[in-house]
């Protein structure tokens, strides 16, 4: 099957460029398909396929030429209003393109001739049939959708290694810049021109750093588009009509993490469709719309990125899960577990794949896979569910390499970073606000709200140092607040979170490390964990940790 093919290095490079460009073009088409079709959008899609066809022709990838050409013809009809746009058909066309291109990539890597994908020919025939089908005299409802100017971002492909080198070099530049600016010989200079230029220099360096750090970050849009495509496939397979609502596609995450999210998301989608969303008659009986709604949301919370997948299906079947767990001795017969405990059972490997549970209780295949994959990214998975209302699976991911705003606080001679998103306010507590319980557990009365107190110096083990001023930084996570006592709040700065090497064996309340603007490494506090421990009544051990 795979005849060897000899390609010179230039051709291989061109093919690499072609594949990357094709993927971008197809991603654009998918993005355009997600919105109601406008003439502009159709024209844009046409251009994407046209470019694809041209490049493929040049490189003699004949199957793509035939495919793209047929799609073009179809798009011309849509553009001219000869028939209404069939988004499903176009989605499918994109999927077929993806598969052909994957084949091309394999062939190039194996130095083999391009294989002929058998599915292409029948699909082209289907497209042709659609083209020659009688136009149903349907003018696109242009008046309904005002033309929204589509703004597609332009991108540039760069070798990832170069980006890393650039980021590192800018880090170096910043350190040297700080060293020059802070040198006693330089600080002694008072000439306004020099001072002004120095401050310009430092501002530009910081901007440069901010920019460099964002180079590795990609928006979740691509992943969400893929999700839309998979959901579309699943919807067809299961025969359940589903609409996908996407929110927060602009949230950015390190590219490495985004790639690893795909597998867990596919599992989650499959579960939502197989077990969450009811069949049409059941939905009708429950008074729900025939078309189910799956929502994929991404947002920042407490310095982490949260990705949530919710469906409006029947929710987890608590009774069945509990019964099943008792059968498998996962739960003591007498125990009356909380909802949370019940939902966590679905993560037990093999639990949900047991015969009946999948059918009856819903939800399940591979939740343990999701958990494992997300945990390997230092993420967390939580599930919430309401009977008859639906299920939400929530992935909370660390911002490894992500850029956040951090508040720099001091604690004795040390400095720590608190993600700004977690901070509600900071204040100087008066003696009246303080209360202690049994001489060690401290509370702060904040306008009638009693908050546990965590002393940063005790937490990090610098207790007993020189007494400085004292400020309470009120931090919040999952709706729970804690007063974190620090010596001072210094500045806010944009920092890049890097993982803290396991070799340093850091305490668990640290979520990462960042390079501060003076070139030193600064540790980032994991507010989620601090709040979690303090508010679950462990504030005393937490304070006494050191």
């Amino acid at each position: 099957m795979s005849t060897p093919a000899v390609r010179d290095s230039e051709t291989i490079e061109l093919l690499g460029d072609f594949l990357a460009e094709a993927a971008e073009g197809l991603a654009q088409v998918e993005e355009l398909l997600a919105a109601p079709p406008t003439p502009d959008a159709i024209a844009q899609m046409f251009r994407c396929f046209h470019t694809l066809k041209g490049n493929a022709g040049f490189l003699e990838v004949t199957q793509v030429v035939a495919l793209a050409h047929t799609v073009e013809t179809l798009l011309v009809q849509y553009r001219d209003g000869a028939k209404p746009l069939d988004a499903a058909l176009l989605f499918e066309a994109v999927a077929v393109h993806h598969r052909v291109l994957a084949g091309v990539k394999t062939a190039v890597e194996a130095q083999a001739a391009f294989a002929v994908l058998p599915e292409v020919e029948p699909f082209v025939a289907r497209l042709t049939a659609a083209i020659s089908a009688e136009a149903k005299a349907a003018k696109p409802e242009q008046a309904e959708t005002p033309t929204v100017a589509m703004h597609l971002k332009e991108t540039l492909r760069v070798d990832a290694e170069r980006v890393d080198t650039l980021v590192e070099m800018i880090g170096e530049l910043l350190v040297v810049e700080a060293m020059v600016a802070d040198a006693p010989e330089v600080t002694a200079i008072t000439a306004p021109r020099v001072r002004h230029n120095l401050s310009q220099l430092s501002k530009i360096s910081r901007d440069l750093q901010g920019l460099a750090m964002r180079l590795r970050m990609v928006p979740l849009r691509g992943l969400f588009q893929k999700t839309a495509r998979i959901l579309h496939d699943l919807s067809k397979k299961t025969g359940k009509a589903v609409a996908l609502v996407r929110e927060g596609e602009d949230v950015e995450l390190d590219r490495g993490l985004v790639d690893r999210l795909e597998e867990p998301l596919v599992h989650m989608l499959r579960n939502a469709l197989d077990h969450g969303v009811e069949a049409a008659p059941l939905r009708a009986a429950a008074g729900k719309s025939a078309e189910a709604c799956v929502t994929l949301r991404a947002f920042h919370e407490s310095g982490r990125v949260v990705i949530e997948l919710s469906d409006d299906g029947r929710g987890l079947q608590r009774e069945t899960i509990v019964r099943r767990a008792r059968e498998r001795n996962l739960l003591p017969a007498a125990a009356e577990p909380t909802d949370e405990e019940v939902w966590n059972l679905i993560f037990v490997p093999g639990f949900s794949t047991a015969e009946q549970v999948t059918e009856l209780s819903g939800r399940g295949v591979g939740m343990d896979v999701v958990l494992r994959q997300v945990q390997s990214m230092q993420g967390r998975v939580t599930v919430s569910s309401q009977a008859g209302r639906g299920t939400t699976v929530r992935l909370s991911l660390p911002l490894t390499l992500a850029v956040i705003n951090g508040m720099l606080v001091s604690c004795g001679d040390e400095r720590y970073i608190i993600p700004s998103l977690c901070i509600v306010e900071s204040l100087k507590p008066t003696a009246k606000m303080h209360a202690t319980l049994a001489q060690h557990t401290e509370l702060i009365n904040l306008r009638g709200e009693l908050l546990p107190v965590v002393r940063l110096d005790r937490l990090v083990g610098t207790e007993g140092g020189v007494a400085h001023g004292e400020l309470a930084v009120i931090v919040e996570c999952h709706g729970k607040k804690v007063a974190l006592m620090v010596n001072d709040v210094l500045t806010e700065q944009q920092v890049v979170i890097k993982p803290l090497s396991a070799q340093a064996q850091p305490a668990d309340f640290l979520s990462g490390v960042a390079i501060l603007s003076d070139g030193r490494a600064g540790l980032i506090l994991d507010v989620d964990r601090i709040v979690g421990r303090a508010s679950s009544g462990q504030s005393a051990p937490l304070g006494a940790l050191a």
């Binding site: 980021v167 880090g171 090497s501 668990d508 640290l510």
Partner: protein, 153 residues
């Protein structure tokens, strides 16, 4: 235990003793820059430093080998080595010179060591111009826990 190969070694001082690692293992030397202490870390981990945008953990080699703690001083240097999981900083008391050792100048460590020190942490013992140089088996030193290293202390 692997035998030390003849070749070039980077020598350095810990307390009053001379140690060395293969020169190829050394990535670079840093003067004593600000080390950020990491709460929760074992005592031999001094903290982390920013190595041009990379965050590198710094281990105090004295503590790791069970030599008594001493304050940092002006000769203290962070020697950045190629560790099994990326760059690692090692705090040493003073950098000495690079020496070339021939096979005849290296004794197997097992011949000499006695007592509590774990001989497998040494790849050999070199002799160079009257000096005794302990050649460290770097990967094993980095992986070892200090408790296992020196039972005596």
């Amino acid at each position: 235990m692997s035998e030390a190969a003849a070749g070039r070694y980077m020598t350095f001082r810990l307390s009053t003793e001379t140690y060395a690692v293969e020169i190829l293992k050394v990535r670079e030397l840093l003067g004593l820059i600000d080390i950020t202490r990491v709460p929760g870390a074992p005592p031999f981990v001094r903290g982390v430093v920013n190595l041009r945008g990379k965050v590198v953990p710094v281990t105090d080699l004295r503590l790791k080998l069970g030599i008594a703690d001493a304050p940092l001083h002006r000769h203290t240097v962070i020697m950045v080595v190629h560790g099994p999981h990326g760059p690692m900083g090692l705090l040493v008391d003073e950098m000495l010179d690079v020496v070339a050792l021939g096979p005849e100048q290296i004794d197997p460590a097992s011949n000499v060591t006695q007592g509590a020190f774990d001989a497998s942490l040494l790849s050999g013992i070199g002799r160079h111009e009257e000096r005794v140089i302990f050649l460290l088996e770097l990967d094993r030193v980095l992986a070892a826990s200090p408790a296992a290293m020196n039972v005596g202390t």
